[in-house]
Symmetry: C2
Subunit: 185 residues, 2 copies
C-alpha cells in the first residue's frame, strides 16, 4: 500500500497505472461512465477542449489503432478492452484564438477518467509511446486539433499467482515539488 | 445538484470552481494535503514535472502575487487563503530532451488538487488570467520551466444569504466529446 506524507482521498492515493489487463470486454455503460467523468473536469473559459475517439477489440480499425503504439506497449496492450485517442481542440470556440491551456485541460479530464477507472477496479494506462503523425491521420483530425496521448483501459487481470507484483512507481518528496514564495529547487 | 448522463464518483461530479471565498486561513496541514494530492498524479516516464510555488496572505510577497492577476480576478481573489503558481518542468530529467507532455501532466496534478480541495469543502479556482511574464519573474523561474496557471484556494464563504447563487457552468453532451473509430464532430 502507498503511504502519503499527508492524508488525502483514497481515490487519489490508490489510483495507479496498470499494464496488467485481462481480455474481458468492458460494457458500454462502463465506457460511458469513464467519458462522463472527463466531461466534468474544469477548463479555461469552460471550453471543454477534450475529444475522445475510441476503438473496441471487435472493430475493423482495432488493429490500426494497435499499430499506432510502440512495440514495447503492444506486448501488454493487446489485452485492453478499449484504446482511446485523447485529442485537444487548440483554439477557442468563443473567438477562434489559440487556446494555450488546451493540453493542460485535457490532462485534467484524463485524470478524471483515470480516477473513475480506478474506483471501478479497471486498469488504466496513459500511452505516450505512439506514432503521433499516424494517430492524427488514423482518427482523421482536422486542422486545429492535436493528439495528446492514447489511453488503454481494460479489466484488471485477477489471477496473477504466477506473476511478479507490478512495480509501483515512486514519488518525489513534497519538498522537491513545492516551495514558498520563490522557485527554490 | 449536477446530473450526469452516466453514474460517476461523487467526488468528480461535485467538484466545481468557486470564487466565493471567506478570508479564513487554511492550516499548514490542509495546504500540505492539497499538494500531496498532486504528488500522486501519473506522468510521462514518472517525471513528475509539476512544481508549485505558493504565497500566503501574511507574506511580504502576497501583494506581488496578487498583482499578477487581471483586475477581474482581483475582485474575488482577495479572500483566498493561498495563491499558487503551478509550473511545468519542460525537459526530462532522464536525458534533458523536451518533455512535450509536461503541461498535460501538470493539468492532471492540478485536477488532483481540485478534487482534494472539493472533498474538504474548500473553494478552488484555476486562474489563467495572469501576467505570465511577470509571474515567471516573480517566482524566479530558470530556463526550462514554464508557468502553466495560478491557483486560488480558500475556505468557502458560508453566509451567502444576501447573494445570488453562483452560476454553475454547463457541460457539452457526451455525444459532443466522444466518437467511435473516427473524429466525427
Amino acid at each position: 500500500m502507498r503511504q502519503s506524507e499527508y492524508p488525502i482521498q483514497e481515490l487519489l492515493l490508490n489510483r495507479w497505472s496498470s499494464r496488467r489487463m485481462s481480455d474481458q470486454p468492458i460494457t458500454q455503460a462502463e465506457l460511458m461512465s469513464l467519458f462522463e467523468a472527463a466531461r466534468w473536469a474544469p477548463s479555461s473559459y469552460n471550453e471543454q477542449p477534450w475529444r475522445f475517439i475510441y476503438a473496441l477489440p471487435g472493430d475493423d480499425c482495432w488493429q490500426d489503432y494497435f499499430n499506432l503504439l510502440t512495440e514495447n506497449n503492444q506486448a501488454w496492450v493487446s489485452k485492453a478492452a478499449t484504446l482511446v485517442v485523447a485529442v485537444s481542440k487548440q483554439f477557442y470556440e468563443r473567438d477562434h484564438s489559440a487556446n494555450a491551456a488546451a493540453g493542460f485541460d485535457v490532462g485534467a479530464a484524463v485524470e478524471n477518467i483515470a480516477l473513475e477507472a480506478g474506483a471501478r477496479g479497471l486498469a488504466f494506462h496513459v500511452l505516450g509511446g505512439i506514432d503521433y503523425a499516424k494517430a492524427t491521420e488514423q482518427v482523421g483530425l482536422p486542422e486545429g486539433y492535436k493528439v495528446e496521448v492514447m489511453l488503454a483501459i481494460g479489466h484488471l487481470r485477477v489471477d496473477v499467482s504466477n506473476e511478479e507484483p507490478e512495480k509501483q512507481t515512486e514519488r518525489k518528496a513534497l519538498a522537491e515539488i513545492i516551495a514558498a514564495k520563490k522557485f527554490n529547487f
